[in-house]
Amino acid sequence: MAERNVESVNKVREAVSQDLLGGRIDLLLGWEKGHYWWQSRPLFARSEADLEKLAWDSFCAVNLSRYLLEELKDHDKVGVLVKGCDARAFNRLLQDNMVRREQVILYGLPCPGMLDYNRLVEKAGGAPLEITEENGRVIIKVGSGEQEAQRDDLLLDKCKDCRYPDPAVYDQLLFSPQGEKEVTERFKTVEELEEMSAEERFGYWEKELSRCLRCYACRQACPFCSCRECFVEQENPRWQGRAYQPSENFMFHLVRAYHGTGRCIDCGECERSCPVDIPLQELNRKLIKDINELYGDYEAGLDPEQEPPLLTYRPDDPAAFSEK
């Protein structure tokens, strides 16, 4: 794995360095290593020295497309490394007219799914020292020896039910595509919640949302949250109070999720970013599931030409209420 990883990073570096050093792009959005081997953080590369830091491994979870909103203010042309979800996020921004296609060069990275450090610790039963990957298996080295696990069991929650690991849009695809994946459990939790009584469901959400700190990491990390002014900050009317009351928690989370109806690409960055692990993706997925049921299958970010379901209608649409 180590050599293979070096190989693939080199391949990525080679592809982007021509463009960056040759002046085709002014900035490359990629990843670099953090403090530890299991952390990869955003890299803003402008020089050869920056590119030395480039990383492409099993921990590049951060969705980079979101940074385009800011970086395109200062740069004419930006290159971005995109996994499946980053590419759908890009399409989403494109559809909202937040970016222009010709300002961006996308380097597509078919994604094997990113690993969750906490899962590694759980599996290894202690702090892992390093891992090696081979054919869908991961060997975790701990102080006392080695543990082997299926790679699929170590994925981040957000990657577990990823249907489209390949970028839906790119200028250059750097590795061979993985193909569409069959997912069976994407709506499992949503369905379980639907089975509950209204009372139980309310209790569930009241408890989960009670942890909310109102840090807005879910919003800031989200590629559909690109409004210049969010309802949270609106002063008049003042929709969102700052008190940590259940009613304010519901206000924020229902409206946040609802604003993503037909726009959420299900990348799960909201949930990954949440410091108190609120199951935010279940709210998003409920809306995806309902829209699919009511108005036909739609996968946000796959095809920018396809009209988002809440921006269009058919005269014979069904309704979730009685039309008599």
Partner: protein, 155 residues
């Protein structure tokens, strides 16, 4: 709109907030009035230009501030004064209705109905029907801001 309205010493009366489209449902309410049909005083009507104007936050705010039920009423599909406002709101409010139910609200708490300006009788019926359903369900505590009830009565 005050929560004190629906919870008095004498017992509980539901508070229903009904957002009515200016062109159809609000006029339907007018017709109900001029035809001397009656509907429960529990319903407070708020006029909106079109059901397409409905921001779902209006509904949540109503629940925060003491509503026991919310009804949005608009023109029948095909009859929108602005051509497509109610087609849009049909999709949006369908998704939203399912979401609030998913959050734990009973389905009866939030409803949408199409009522035309000639349907004074339907207006009165729908208002009566939702009021009865909410009466049967009891007061809504979900999402109600606890501080709104009475800020200082807890002192």
């Amino acid at each position: 709109m005050s929560a004190a309205l629906n919870e008095t010493a004498g017992g509980w009366e539901p508070l229903i907030v009904s957002f009515c489209c200016n062109w159809c449902s609000y006029a339907g309410g007018d017709l109900a009035g001029t035809s001397r049909m009656s509907y429960p005083v529990n319903v407070k009507v708020i006029r909106v230009p079109c059901s397409g104007r409905m921001n779902p936050m209006f509904v949540l705010r109503a629940f925060q501030r003491g509503a026991d039920g919310v009804l949005v009423a608009g023109c029948h599909p095909g009859d929108c004064h602005y051509t497509s406002g109610n087609y849009q709101s049909r999709r949006r409010l369908s998704a939203f209705k399912r979401l609030v139910e998913f959050a734990g609200f009973e389905p009866e708490r939030f409803e949408v109905r199409w009522i035309s300006s000639s349907e004074g009788d339907k207006f009165a019926e729908e208002m009566t029907s939702i009021t009865e359903k909410i009466k049967a369900l009891g007061p809504n505590r979900k999402m109600r801001d606890a501080r709104w009830q009475s800020v200082t009565s807890k002192v």
